[in-house]
């Protein structure tokens, strides 16, 4: 199995084998971060640009660390400090960045489909670091990596995703990835936060948190993005916690070794209690650590594939 894509835009279009290849590559990179000198020369001489149109600390820093551990040069562009504020289009911005002979553009954008659009217009590799409500493939890959590390496999697992499914790119990418690897996925949220037709993505839907937890081997708890609730569709924060919050009491009725994940940053006391966030079942910080290995793998694979594509074109 070879990775042949110049970009990573989403998990929807990936095959099971491709996802497994990223996970295996990440596994081999994980060790690098435990060395005294945390660096390999895999991307030496390559330039990675982080192009972030939305505030993000976690994902941006994770990509920066990943690129640096591969010995790439990294530049981060935030919209506040770029000519994007002057009305430049995403395509023009992308082409200008490419004119600097950049190899990989990591893009975070509030419009669904933005990463794919950029990828069509530049020869550099594009890695989607989250586009609108559409996909956040590296987050799902690191979630799956962590799960596999903890439970040894993905096939046959019951995984519940709880929270604002409708507006979540993390949920969508997780659903595609988990389903392709043979997990049984349940999504759980108030009805207003379940998007129409989602069953057709191969998931079960429930509005009962206890039902979602009962059989679950793992629960992925999404951040309730109250700050983005433009349409005022969210339930009251306390009300949400009462009905859907993950608490120690609820976990007691779940499987003993249930894995609790969260993409961060956590709203303590809204999605989950502090006790759960810091408790024995939580792998939240391990997710952060694994994020580095997974993003190293993705940067490495797309760079290698793009090199191959360029060589073929010059032959």
């Amino acid at each position: 199995m070879n990775w042949t894509r110049k970009d990573l835009l989403g998990l929807e279009e990936l095959s099971r084998e491709e996802i497994e290849l990223v996970l295996a590559t990440a596994e081999s990179f994980k060790e690098v971060s435990t060395r005294e000198i945390k660096k390999v020369p895999a991307l030496r001489g390559k330039t990675v640009v982080n192009l972030f149109y939305e505030p993000s600390t976690r994902t941006r820093v994770s990509f920066e660390v990943a690129a640096k551990r591969l010995s790439a040069d990294v530049i981060t562009i935030l919209t506040e400090t770029s000519s994007v504020r002057k009305g430049e289009t995403l395509i023009d911005t992308g082409r200008n960045i490419e004119a600097l002979k950049v190899d990989i553009i990591v893009v975070r954008n509030n419009y669904s489909g933005a990463a794919a659009m950029l990828a069509r217009h530049v020869k550099a590799s594009v890695v989607n670091a989250g586009d609108g409500w559409h996909e956040h493939p590296t987050q799902a890959l690191l979630d799956i990596f962590t799960l596999k590390e903890k439970l040894g496999k993905i096939t046959g697992l019951n995984v519940s995703i709880v929270g604002d499914i409708a507006h979540s790119r993390v949920a969508r990418s997780n659903i595609w990835g988990l389903a392709k690897l043979g997990a049984k996925v349940t999504v759980c949220a108030p009805a207003i936060l379940i998007p129409p037709g989602i069953e057709k993505m191969g998931v079960k839907v429930t509005h009962d948190i206890d039902a979602a937890l009962r059989e679950a081997d793992a629960v992925n708890v999404l951040r309730m993005q109250f700050e983005r609730d433009e349409e005022s569709v969210f339930p009251q924060q306390l009300e949400y916690f009462k009905k859907f919050g993950i608490t120690e009491e609820r976990l007691e009725r779940a499987k003993k070794n249930i894995i609790v994940m969260h993409p961060g940053p956590i709203n303590r006391g809204i999605e989950m209690s502090s006790g759960v966030a810091d408790g024995a079942n939580s792998v939240i910080l391990e997710q952060v650590t694994n994020g580095i290995a997974v993003r190293m793998a993705v940067l490495f694979l797309v760079a290698q594939a793009n090199e191959q594509i360029k060589n073929e074109n010059t032959d």
């Binding site: 669904s112 794919a116 659009m117 586009d131 559409h134 998007p195």
Partner: protein, 429 residues
Amino acid sequence: MNRSKTKILIKNGRVVDPANQVDAVMDILLEGSRISRVANGINDRADTVIDAAGRLVMPGIVDMHVHLREPGREDKETIASGTRAAAKGGVTSVLAMPNTSPAIDCAGSVALLKGIIHKTAAVNVFIAGAITSGRQGKALTDIVKLKKEGIVAISDDGASVDSDELMLRALKEAKKAGVLVICHCEDKKLSAHGAVNLGIVSTRMGLRGISKESEYKRVQRDVDLAKKSGSCVHIAHISCSESVEIIASAKKKRIKVTAETAPHYFSLAEEAVSGFDTNLKMNPPLRGDADVAAVRQGLADGTIDVIASDHAPHTENEKEIEFERAEFGVTGLETELAVCITELIRSGVLDWSGLVKKLALNPAGILGIDKGTLRAGADADLIVVNPDQEWVVQKERLVSKSKNSAFLGKRLNGVVEYTICGGKIVYQL
């Protein structure tokens, strides 16, 4: 007979003219701007003789839903470029929608538009005026005055008149003035900010959805208002099964309603848009497979009277951007006939007479214009079509100023070889 009139003789074509129950190989002689004779074995001397053996000869298309963008957005399209695209597509009459800048909402702007048409149009351009001033949905235009200036229909297309009371008054005024009311059926409270059909595709793409309710609830309202007022309403761009059902049931009750759909609604389903191609973004959006089937069935059983392009040109700057920010709409003048042939004739949804009704005879009748027929004495608006020739829709070969076709790269059947408008050859392959 005036010997100075130019004569065109079209020989041996299969003449499809449902207005006169004709579907047979015949000759047609054109003299000046009119059809002189339709018969077998015409051997008159003519200035131009077209051998149409193996070709179809039919009335030019009457496309009652076209955005020509002039005045105001000449970067997208002009009367000149749009009517040349029309000629290439076999369209000899268009109804120009009034959502220009300024909107066609007063006698002055109609006069301005007529001046541009007179100077630059390659085919017949009929004018739709706005229902409300500035298409703002607040104050009715002076429909009688607009009619006097020459409009044949009114529409706020691109927007729906939200107020029931105002819409009812518009229908009553239009009835008095003798103009058709064309309804863009969309409740923006229900469709607001949506980009694609609400359902699995909007869910997968992570986009806000446009519900079918936003369309069919407004169709139902306008049908109800047609009943109440006794006026005719014409429902534009039907896209979903519920709308088709509402119209079918209204027709059974003898409510004076007619309906139109566009080629993309019977040939493409929502799945096509999942790659974020903004050339597949239009309003109403592409719907589900069952809706596509319902629209095709509605065409076959007569519920849907008209096929019109909803030609909506946009510049690349307005389309080559993030999906949610991109403009709604696709061009269609140059592809509509071929899409109809490929999707409806070849699969047996319509026969040739049926297709000519949808594309020419019915819209002419609904608009009350004397077009869509090949009887002797009628305007010489007709086309010669090679129905089998395959072609690929290529950006570079489109005549329209804008290239936002939903069918780029698609293989279609059916090529227009001649378009004759008012007795003049306005397009020749």
